[in-house]
Symmetry: C2
Subunit: 377 residues, 2 copies
Amino acid sequence: MRKNPIVQRETLGAAVLQVRSGRATSRTTLAKALGISPSTTGLYVDHLIAEKYLNESGLNQGPMGRPRRSLSTQAEAGWFAGVEFNAQRIQAVGVDFSGGLKMTEELLLPADVMADQVINSILACVAKLSVAMQGPLLSVGIGVPGLVDAQAGLGLYYAFIQDWKQVPLVERIGSRLKVPVILQNNMRAIALAERWFGIGHGLNDYVILGPRSGFGIAMVQDGRVVEGAHHAAGEVGRWPWPLMAAASGGQELHHALSAPATWRRLAGVGERAMLPEDLRTGLAALAESAGPEWDAVCEDYARVIGLLHLIINTGVFVLHGPLTMLGERFCHSITDSACALMPALRDAGLKVVPSTLGDNAGALGAASLAMEAWSPA
Amino acid sequence: MRKNPIVQRETLGAAVLQVRSGRATSRTTLAKALGISPSTTGLYVDHLIAEKYLNESGLNQGPMGRPRRSLSTQAEAGWFAGVEFNAQRIQAVGVDFSGGLKMTEELLLPADVMADQVINSILACVAKLSVAMQGPLLSVGIGVPGLVDAQAGLGLYYAFIQDWKQVPLVERIGSRLKVPVILQNNMRAIALAERWFGIGHGLNDYVILGPRSGFGIAMVQDGRVVEGAHHAAGEVGRWPWPLMAAASGGQELHHALSAPATWRRLAGVGERAMLPEDLRTGLAALAESAGPEWDAVCEDYARVIGLLHLIINTGVFVLHGPLTMLGERFCHSITDSACALMPALRDAGLKVVPSTLGDNAGALGAASLAMEAWSPA
DNA sequence: TAGGATTTTTTCGCATTCGAATAAAAAGCC
DNA sequence: GGCTTTTTATTCGAATGCGAAAAAATCCTA
């Protein structure tokens, strides 16, 4: 038996991440993934198995040679909480140590909710999850709307909760739960969700498009989520619309390309028309029966996406939010329209796809935050 | 005397970079900058001094305590070549080991130049530099126009040199010069120039604006130059113009916001009007005597910069190229105009400044590439 | 069925890196 | 001037991580 003590907690955490993601399935592949030597990797794996974080799940014969001893995470080792909220509701998920989604929780917030109440509701949601989840709570990720200073653990500003300014979320939640708490802007959390639960598995460059009540995006470049120097990257929603509008005349893109506005245009009703009970099903109904506005709507999205792609040149645009109900056809129309508008896009590898994650992508992303930040004590 | 052998060449290179940049001036500060222990740092410094890369230049008394033994780079330890080119000319600089610019070289290219000739001319430029520079040539950086695959060492495509497709520059130059050759797109090279020779010293997030014959930008986010998934980040020049133009109608931003086009608009002459002999002086003359188009021109730039800032949210926009001759006033007008057009920019820390680097920023940037890549044998 | 061939894992000695303590070099203070 | 305080640099033992080689586990071939 080897007996070196282990100290590099961060490396242990990274090792678990590699195994959980399925990128590393044996000691040797793990060594390559982590960039450390096989001998050291052996020590780390021994330690993680001894601590019941990993286990060996049989052999896996390659085309030749000694079969690899498959590694996998121990689902019961503990769980991660992911919470996302906005002014209307809180969504929370419980994810086991293997990254499996085990429980979801939703809680509606009253109108004019204040920061204190949001924090208490988050705590209540997590408490509700914890009775059903196995093992200890390991860490909590929170997808926060508006401006977020992830490093400082602050919610900086969010327009739709009155006193949401400089809220020390990490401190207030962490002091109660006694586990690490990690924040991120909710759009950027969705980007992580895509990495762990969706299409982003092997992708290093992609953009999340999130048209809901506004229009936000999140960018992943070279595997890293882009924050911006002032935590405000991706504020496309604050572009003027139309793009060349005069100073005072136009409105903002937030307003023009939001999900409700898009539904109204596709449905061919006026600006004041009532929205359907459930926007998602309302949109789904429109997916096939394209109104006369379909092309114009797609062209507007194409314009925005095209401009974005020419700047940041990522691989894939992943559509989130209610508009995913418009399906592949919507995404194809956008791609085609973009290439027609901007010839440079033709051989630039532009691709728009609807997310396969549902409504709780934000909460899943928050759980991803928690998973990425965790490392053994 | 300590006597451990040293192996981590990359760390040695990083140490030299820290000292050269002035960020680390003593063993202790260097240890912090590199994130390694003071004892190990001592060993590394000993080694670098023994190899004549660094030297101790006296003491530097702080407010209290033992004075630090100042470290500095040995200018004569060797030199770096930086080369930038386009279809018209090659510019090259020789930079000593301390990062001091020692020589510049320029070479005009004939019309319809081909790739082979460009490569030979680059070699000729470097040869010319090498007779005057002290010590051995350590590495060569090249700022390449068009699409570049820096990792593969290929010039992928450049529209203005006929056969410029998949040019294996690193191989062809490296095999002759027998030193490491590093490529980067010329705009992104300028971004590095700004870091080493200009305003970018302590900056981690900024954008280079390069309106010349076209309009390219380069972005630095969190200290890293953004390449894009397909090496095509920053292709703002290929935005349609006007931005909401119909598919076939409009032209590209490249054309509308280039330096020549801007001169013509400011000078109030037609699209076909002859350009001045030297565009830089021509623009300088216009800096004060603002024509009636001044505001409209600034507004167009403001529009582009504003959109960019809302997406990537970097700190500073650094204006390069001939338009720097329009001076601070131009930059201020742009900033003001942008804030007027997009209210969201008002408290977003938008700043536009003219670069203090001159015409050879690209070559300096290429030299920076060379410096960043070098580490002792 | 024995002997390569191939790939994964482990063993083991060694050397680099670290941490803590020590030494060194100055300033401030009585 | 001797004392403490403060900061920088070095010494030295300990140990972590590495490399090379050995061991292990399977397939292929004759």
